[in-house]
């Protein structure tokens, strides 16, 4: 595609609403995701209120509590994290970083956003149907998800499944674009191994999404059939509420296999873009090339492949054939090796660096710390026999919040602080950013670190109340109250971030085109923010890898990727 094909759209509608520009679509995706994310944040605060101060809030009854749990989980995992990493950052960064004018199919890209928005609308509509949204837990396990006895087992679950179906169509349309753009639309000289790790992470995550989401699609459709047409895919003979149902012979475990065949890669759909972005943030702000670039790329690929053969570690106590436990424990612990290598390489990049403690760097280093905890506690849960006492307790809750709640969210924040100057031309306020980092980092640590100990004690998850359980000491209730207070504190701190986003847009310091002195192509655009078609008259050529920082023999401590000349002068 040439520059002439990219006439700038004229009216407000074609420019901001029905836009086919990847940058506008990225911002649409991000704002929508942040909006639903805020809903999820409010839901989590309500949950914490019940857990910290049980019975103090009349409107949080058991039904409402389980609905909050479910919607919080589903929104965070799918509608926020997946959407913002792929639809938001993927959309914004892929064409800019590989030196393309746009995605290869701009129209399909636009459709992808509108399908995503539709999925969000259907999801939120379930709050307003009789019975409310589903309260089946985000894993939606049948039979319970579609039987009375679970909140929202009529309209709620149906809308949930339909919304997921629409989301998957949206993600597939987006994913086709991202993969094809990376494969076919890279600029001259941009070999695979010259791509920034951000692109590698997003690229691999997109492939995982394309291959894993069908499993969720399959299970959603089959569950809809079971619910609406009384088929027996997942439903065995059941006595529900004293009534013999017409189902026969189905297998709830089959659903779990399908769900986790999607669900585990999903973890890496969120984690791999985070890995990639963090690698770039650390490298830019430490003024040093990422340590062991090739190992980092291989690790991303290996993790992506392995993530498809570890799913049943979510099912050690599910009643599946117990002999599977040997296989899945082994694969799960093997996947820890490439993951550990990534952590080593991040911290080794700091060594002999020239580290600028900017706000994005703070978030990136905060991520390394929280991800290390989350990864290490994963070794408890992945080792099948250690999982026996810990699974379905608060240890699991603490683990996955550390590893795929807090950690990716820290990366999202870091990435926003890093790329906001490119998106808007303004710097985010530094002082507010630091305040935001410290409250979020220390706050989430105090929420989730002690929570592991509740799990070790044996406190089960998804309990509305813990009254009259003798093995839970009184002090655990104080701990829960403490965690709730910390959670409210962290939630409020996010308002500062939102304020910063809005305030800086109007009043922020002008950023210039390359405020961080980074090498990658998105910082080398003619205008900031980049105009329609990204590059003005001619597309940049790539002459070097993305990490020429502090190259010996050069005055400047970074060499942009489009700067001609030998790598080592």
């Amino acid at each position: 595609m040439t520059a002439q094909e990219h006439h700038s759209p004229q009216s407000f509608w074609t420019k901001y609403i029905w836009s086919q520009d990847h940058k506008v679509i990225a911002i649409q995706y991000s704002l929508t995701a942040i909006f639903v994310g805020l809903i999820a944040l409010v839901l989590s605060t309500l949950m914490r209120l019940q857990l910290g101060f049980p019975g103090s809030f009349d409107f949080i009854d058991a039904s409402a509590y389980y609905q909050y749990v479910t919607m919080h989980g589903m929104i965070m995992v799918v509608y926020l994290l997946t959407a913002i990493f792929l639809g938001g950052f993927g959309n914004y960064l892929i064409p800019l970083m590989v030196g393309a004018r746009d995605m290869v199919f701009p129209f399909v890209n636009m459709l992808s956003y509108w399908f995503y928005l539709l999925a969000v609308v259907v999801l939120l509509a379930s709050f307003f149907v009789t019975g409310g949204p589903t309260g089946a837990g985000w894993t939606l396990y049948p039979p319970q998800a579609i039987l009375p006895g679970t909140p929202g087992s009529d309209g709620g679950i149906i809308l949930m499944l339909i919304s997921l179906g629409i989301f998957i169509i949206a993600a597939t349309m987006g994913g086709l674009n991202y993969v094809t753009t990376v494969l076919q639309a890279r600029t001259r000289g941009m070999t695979l191994m010259r791509m920034p790790l951000t692109i590698w992470g997003i690229f691999m995550a997109t492939i995982l999404a394309l291959l894993a989401f069908p499993a969720l699609f399959v299970s959603a459709i089959m569950m809809l059939f079971d619910k609406l047409l009384s088929t027996s895919f997942f439903m065995p003979a059941i006595l529900s509420m004293g009534e013999q149902l017409g189902h026969e012979g189905g297998s709830p475990i089959l659903f779990q296999h399908l769900f986790w065949f999607f669900g585990h890669p999903e973890v890496y759909i969120v984690a791999l873009p985070a890995f990639g972005i963090v690698s770039d943030l650390i490298s830019v702000h430490a003024r040093k090339n990422i340590f062991g670039y090739r190992m980092m790329v291989w690790a991303i690929v290996v993790i992506g492949v392995l993530s498809f053969v570890v799913w049943a570690h979510h099912m050690y106590v599910s009643g599946m054939n117990p002999y599977f436990g040997y296989f899945f424990a082994t694969t799960t612990l093997i996947i820890a090796v490439p993951t550990a290598i990534k952590v080593y390489n991040w911290v080794l990049t700091l060594w002999q660096g020239n580290i600028r403690m900017t706000v994005p760097m703070l978030f990136a280093l905060g991520f390394v710390s929280t991800f290390t905890i989350g990864g290490l506690t994963g070794l408890f849960l992945g080792n099948v026999v250690v999982d026996l006492p810990l699974s379905d307790t608060y240890f699991v809750v603490a683990h996955f919040h550390m590893v795929m709640g807090v950690s990716p969210v820290l990366v999202i924040f870091g990435a926003i602080y890093h790329w906001y100057p490119k998106m808007t031309g303004k710097m985010l306020h530094d002082g507010l950013g630091k305040f935001h980092f410290w409250t979020t980092f220390i706050g989430t640590y105090t929420i989730f670190f002690p929570m592991h100990y509740l799990g070790v004690l044996g406190v089960p998850r998804r309990y509305y109340a813990y009254e009259n359980y003798d093995f839970i000491p009184e002090s655990a209730k104080d701990l829960n109250a403490f965690i709730t207070i910390a959670a409210i504190f962290v939630a409020l701190a996010q308002l500062v971030f939102l304020f910063n986003l809005a305030w800086s847009y109007f009043k922020g310091r002008a950023a210039g085109s390359n405020p961080w002195q980074a090498t990658t192509l998105e910082w080398q655009t003619e205008t900031t923010p980049p105009g329609h078609g990204n590059w003005g008259e001619s597309i940049p050529e790539c002459h070097r890898w993305a990490y020429d920082y502090s190259v010996p023999g050069y005055e400047q401590d970074y060499l942009p990727q489009n700067q001609p000349g030998e790598a080592n002068a």
């Binding site: 199919f105 094809t180 076919q184 890279r186 695979l192 012979g249 670039y293």
Partner: protein
């Protein structure tokens, strides 16, 4: 340049590696189609796995073993298969015609191919209706539920193909590249239908054998 080679190069040492200037739209679209077909394959593969796992439960009843089972009489299905084969053939013919720069022939091919595809969809719906009339509803047995599910999804993909077909038909004068893509998609759907058909009417022993081979047995 092999994938292995390109993934082991040391990017900080290389001189300038120059990629071709721009990929042609055809090549981009073909690449996207390959990705799309892999996604669809995974989707159906997962359904097959679910089908095989489900077939190992004791309440499983095959579909086409004896009279009185829903798929015992397959006349309509074979007729539909013929439509799809013809449709696929027409698309092939059209894409060959494009290569020979014969606009008229490709127009006819693609038009007739689309009509046969529509006939296939109609035939499938007629077969559904026949099943309903005999009382074989979707919750009659797990295998039949899968039959409705599979054929329904296959039709949905064919309908998606027809949207692409419409676009190809209308842009035929200016851009013939879409014809070949449509042909590939149609061949794929034909093969997919063949696999589905074979799977649905197989003997239980076949399922058992495949399931055992894949380690899915109970």
């Amino acid at each position: 340049m092999s994938l292995f080679h390109s993934l082991t190069e040391k990017p900080w040492l290389q001189g300038n590696v120059v990629l071709p200037e721009q990929k042609s739209p055809e090549r981009v679209r073909r690449s996207a189609l390959k990705v799309l077909l892999s996604v669809i394959s995974v989707l159906f593969l997962l359904f097959f796995v679910a089908f095989l796992m489900r077939s190992q439960y004791p309440d499983w009843r095959p579909l086409a073993e004896e009279p009185g089972q829903p798929l015992y009489y397959q006349g309509q299905l074979w007729l539909n298969t013929l439509y799809l084969v013809l449709s696929s053939f027409c698309f092939h013919w059209a894409s060959v015609a494009v290569k020979r720069n014969s606009l008229k022939a490709s127009q006819v091919g693609i038009l007739v191919g689309g009509l046969f595809a529509a006939a296939f969809i109609g035939g499938q719906l007629i077969f559904w209706q026949q099943l309903q009339e005999q009382g074989f509803f979707v919750n009659h047995s797990p295998a039949l539920s899968f039959f409705y599910l599979f054929t329904g999804l296959h039709i949905a993909h064919l309908v998606g193909g027809i949207i692409a077909w419409t676009m190809a038909l209308f842009s035929l004068r200016t851009d013939q590249s879409r014809v070949a893509l449509c042909a590939t998609y149609w061949h794929y759907l034909l093969v997919l239908w063949g696999v589905l058909f074979a799977l649905l009417v197989s003997k239980p022993e076949t399922y058992d054998a495949i399931a055992a081979f894949c380690g899915l047995g109970q």
